[in-house]
């Protein structure tokens, strides 16, 4: 049976989303010190935890991005990446409210200040992840019912 258009679209959106985070995580892995500087500049974490976050986050983005693009545990990856985007969105909103003019450390583009554009982009990421997760969940929840309906009655 050939996959239907919505399923292809869903996978395509997941692959693009996963690839974006792969790239962002890879850049952060290559420039860990710059990323640690960006985390430090937000002044939201105790200094003792900055190194831990700077060490774990790039690998998490990379792993979840690769797994999602490859189709392995897609909902869990979407959950993680959506959560990360949500936390990042919150951090940028707090930073903007505090009037701090710092580099956003957004991953895809270095040397960009926290502002409206990165916030809107990140908001889109949260929406993207949440939408795909909900879509995946509905498909998974409907699958047993469909299978039961397709089963012949004896």
């Amino acid at each position: 049976m050939r996959p239907e258009f919505p399923a292809i679209l869903r996978r395509l959106l997941e692959i693009i989303f996963g690839a974006l985070f792969c790239y962002a995580g890879y850049l952060k892995l290559l420039h860990t010190d710059e990323f640690a500087e960006a985390v430090l500049a937000y002044q939201l974490l105790p200094p003792g935890l900055v190194g831990l976050v700077a060490a774990v986050l790039p690998g998490l983005e990379l792993a979840a991005g690769i797994f999602l693009a490859l189709g392995f545990k897609r909902r869990s990856c979407l959950m993680l990446l959506g959560f990360l985007s949500g936390i990042f969105l919150l951090a940028m909103l707090v930073t903007l409210a505090r009037g701090l003019k710092i580099d956003c450390g957004c991953g895809l583009f270095f040397s960009r200040q926290v502002g409206l554009a990165p916030i809107l982009e990140d908001g889109l990421m949260v929406f993207w992840a949440a939408g795909l997760y909900y879509w995946e969940l509905m498909v998974a929840a409907a699958a047993p019912a469909l299978a039961a309906a397709a089963r012949p009655d004896f």
């Binding site: 860990t32 200094p47 003792g48 935890l49 190194g51 774990v56 986050l57 869990s76 969940l137």
Partner: protein, 169 residues
Amino acid sequence: MLSRRLLGQDLAWAGVILLLAAVLGIWQQWQLVRLSWTGALPAHLEQQRQQRRQVEFQGVKTLNLPQTYEIFQGGQALFVDARDADEYAELHIAGAVNLSPDLLERQGDRALAGIPRDRRIVVYCGLANCNKALEVAEKLQSLKFTEVSAFMDGFRAWDEAGYPAETSE
């Protein structure tokens, strides 16, 4: 009911992926984690930043706060504010002109039309860790301005020292 069970499975696998990334990340970046935990991370990052700058902007002359103020008092130098227009408008070094890296990229030579190539120019940005001053200074050097320096402590240090500043608002 089924959705709740799926949600539980998803959370469990998310935990596994998080754990995997955490173990690998900490193992690979153990030095960073240790430095952070012992409170030595800011000094380490500053040292790394200086090294990166030395490599990336090796041809740019740099100035500290007392040197910059001395030049300011001389009254001959042109001060260039490399921050964005809104930050410049809020407050800048008295007499400075605004020229961000983006503006310089767009306008090139025209941005400093009429300014002699041997005029002393001091470029600055907001903080000691910003690179915009170095980027603009390097670009000006490539446009054949010969007396360009970057003030490395940034406008915040200037303002905190109580040196002359003005607003365009």
